[in-house]
Amino acid sequence: MRILKILIAAMLLGAAPAWAQDLADISLSDPKQESQALALMDSIRCVVCQGQPISGSNAELAGDMRRIIRERIAAGDTPEAVRTMLISKYGDWVTFRPQLKPATLPLWIIPLLALLAGVWLVSRRLGWRQN
């Protein structure tokens, strides 16, 4: 039994350095940075298996992106700076969270307009009842 324990410990020790380096699949030691990195990975689209976020993709390129995200965040970059960097490479398509700019303005304005139109319609309807 003890031999088995030593054996397992030795195997774990031997295995650790192999993946301790690879930030594609290993968390950052700082939990705050790791949660920032994870949130970003959830909103970056895998360019290989499209429609999946890179956090849940097995594609090697998705792993490469996760590694770069963790490295940059560990180095002090903000998640939005890393997102901007990825958009500068692959375009708006790569983010699940649309950026605010002239081309995407309708995305933000239309719901507001729809709400206003709804309020107007309802208030008119209520107005008739009162009269």
Binding site: V47, Q50, L61, M65, I68, S88, K89, Y90, W93
Partner: protein
């Protein structure tokens, strides 16, 4: 009558939106993701020699006034085999093709080049997809036309075929 129509309008709008969302959800073909780096200077990258016989590839190699092709490929990529003969012809016309091999190993590349031919002047082994992501490349094969000042002029996504040769040669300024 008119008021009734106005009241139905939001419902009609929602229904139209719902149908259009449903249609685009159920019909989403694989999209080709073009690099945003076209028209911009080649990003900084340095990929070490992929095979012992040839030098690696780095941004600095592209700034000597000579336009080149930068071919992102891999030994495990089946379509990449199909474009090797065309790249060989381009090489014969005086075009320099720089290779960047992604997610690859020296041993596999040596075998790939021995079997299919080697059109490359330099081959960089891209570690961790760094060069590929810097280029905004989403897959293999992809071929970038880089001018003599190191600016990316064009990105060809997918296999380079005979039909693409004339266009590429013209962009590279090679007169046939």
């Amino acid at each position: 009558m008119n008021r009734k129509l106005v009241l139905w309008l939001p419902f009609a709008l929602m229904a139209a939106l719902f149908i259009s969302f449903l249609a685009s959800l159920s019909n989403s073909p694989e999209k080709v993701i073009a690099s945003q780096m076209v028209g911009q200077p080649l990003p900084e990258f340095a990929a070490g020699a992929a095979i012992p016989e040839q030098p690696g590839a780095a941004t600095a190699d592209f700034r000597d006034g000579k336009p080149r092709l930068l071919n992102v490929f891999a030994s495990w990529c089946v379509p990449c085999i199909a474009e090797i003969p065309v790249l060989m012809e381009l090489k014969a016309s005086g075009v320099e093709v720089v290779g960047v091999a992604v997610h690859d190993t020296s041993v596999d590349l040596t075998r790939f080049l021995a079997t299919n031919g080697n059109p490359y002047s330099r081959i960089g082994l891209d570690q961790g997809g760094r060069a590929q992501i810097a280029l905004g490349s989403a897959g293999v094969p992809e071929t970038f036309v880089v001018d003599g000042q190191g600016k990316i002029l064009y990105q060809h996504i997918g296999v380079v075929t005979e039909a693409d040769k004339t266009k590429l040669l013209a962009m590279l300024g090679v007169v046939k």
